[in-house]
């Protein structure tokens, strides 16, 4: 399974993270997203006319929507990451998968504006990002009150992975995460999962590993 990947792309990171958490092996094919705009070149447009990444190529299957890719990886390797049979849980997974698209537009838009000088109304993008974070915070508070630690259930699902990267990288777009205690605990729970991998800007929990020891050099 080949992933057309860009290290700084939160949407590509969703796929790498899901693969790491579910034990799927990916062949990474780096894309020169910036400054080369390779994703808008003829070769990649032939795979994905929308001109976006990530793209997954698995035999003759081509997937270009990150939520669909998450579902594909989970269905193959770890179905417990998908919604169960309860109507409410199934609906919640879909609710937050759709919501993750809004995060890409607002928090992701603010990040592209601030990091890659993409044009856009930064004030509006940040305001929409804050509104989305408040929605997520309220949703997580309610889930906690139901005794559930994650967005759709008391276990992580594809919905959590779909929402996590753009939220964790909100400060790149000038949006603070300080005001959201429930988001902070949720982010911590996700970063505590066995198999968690990092991307630039999203680091692992150092305290989960033993303290590294260094011998004093005798130079």
């Amino acid at each position: 399974m080949k992933l057309y990947d860009y290290i700084l792309s939160p949407s590509c990171y969703k796929v790498r993270l899901m693969a790491a958490l579910t034990g799927v092996k990916l062949e990474l094919r780096p894309v020169d997203f910036h400054p080369g705009l390779e994703h808008r070149g003829l070769a990649l447009l032939a795979l994905n006319p929308a001109g976006s990444i990530p793209i997954i190529e698995d035999g003759d299957l081509i997937l270009t929507e990150s939520s669909a890719i998450l579902v594909y990886l989970a269905a193959q390797a770890a179905p417990e990451w998908l919604a169960g049979t309860k109507p409410e849980e199934a609906a919640r997974v879909q609710q937050w998968l759709s919501f993750s698209g809004r995060l890409t537009a607002n928090l992701g838009g603010a990040r592209l504006h601030e990091m890659l000088l993409r044009t856009g109304d930064i004030d509006a993008l940040q305001a929409q990002g804050i509104a989305a974070l408040r929605e997520l915070e309220a949703g997580l508070v309610e889930q906690n009150l139901r005794g559930q630690r994650f967005l759709a259930a008391d276990r992580p699902t594809v919905a959590d992975i779909a929402c996590f990267p753009y939220v964790a990288l909100a400060p790149d777009g000038g949006v603070s995460l300080d005001p959201y205690p429930a988001i902070r605990l949720w982010s911590r729970a996700l970063r505590s999962l066995h198999g968690f991998v990092e991307m630039p800007g999203i680091h692992r929990l150092h305290e989960l590993k033993p303290e590294p020891t260094v011998e004093e050099s005798k130079a």
Partner: protein, 217 residues
């Protein structure tokens, strides 16, 4: 301008939002702080600035009884004293390397930090159970107007329409934002707690509307 008289004490966070072995950012009138809880459960509050290179200590991590900076791993004890510099494992860090610390108290599920070495204790909130904290761009006057009730000297507002179930503990910040700790009265169920959280969201929305229109300015 509203002056709430909680003495030197600021309600900075809810206990439930700071599990053992974690650090979070918070604000007091003296500035930003790193609020952390050690593995054994002891609370600490230090200035949010590593004495080494100025990195925010709230970006760091807690291992055992110490807070470590994310940048170069300098570790600080509860007293603020630097206890470890990873690049110099054989060195006993000099006494002079200290992060500034503040008095911190926890009562009824609320964490309070004092701006100076206070002889007093933080206000006691009888019969109230914390639900959640939220930040708003509305000031205290706008929140009072939205709630239809005045704040007490401790910063407690009992919203007129939810007087039997809800109480808001307000803390004005120097950046014009207000931190709201949503507290519950009496017996609650999961359903009533979820309902109260939604009421608080609506109150915040109403207060921010009033703030924007300048009605409560």
């Amino acid at each position: 301008m509203h002056t709430l008289t909680t003495g030197p004490w600021t309600p900075v966070a809810l206990s439930a939002d700071l599990p053992v072995g974690t650090v979070i950012p918070a604000r007091i009138p003296a500035g930003s702080i790193a609020l952390w809880r050690s593995e054994s459960g002891r609370l600490s509050a230090s200035a949010d600035r590593c004495p080494h290179r100025g990195m925010s200590l709230s970006h760091g991590f807690v291992r055992g009884e110490n807070l470590s900076c994310i940048y170069h791993g300098w570790s600080y004890a509860r007293s603020g004293k630097c206890v470890r510099i990873p690049a110099h494992p054989g060195l006993e860090p000099p006494e002079a390397i200290r992060a500034k610390t503040f008095a911190v108290e926890e009562a009824g599920g609320v964490i309070w930090v004092a701006t100076d070495e206070a002889a007093t204790t933080p206000p006691v909130l009888e019969g109230l159970m914390p639900l959640r904290s939220m930040t708003t761009s509305a000031g205290i006057a706008a929140i009072e107007a939205a709630a239809g009730a005045k704040a007490t000297a401790e910063g407690l507002v009992v919203p007129a329409e939810n007087a039997d179930t809800l109480c808001l503990l307000l803390s004005a910040r120097d950046d014009g934002q207000t931190l709201i700790h949503v507290l519950l009265k009496g017996e609650t169920t999961a359903d009533s707690r979820i309902a109260a959280s939604r009421v608080a969201e609506s109150l915040r929305r109403a207060a921010e509307d009033l703030q924007k229109k300048g009605i409560a300015a």
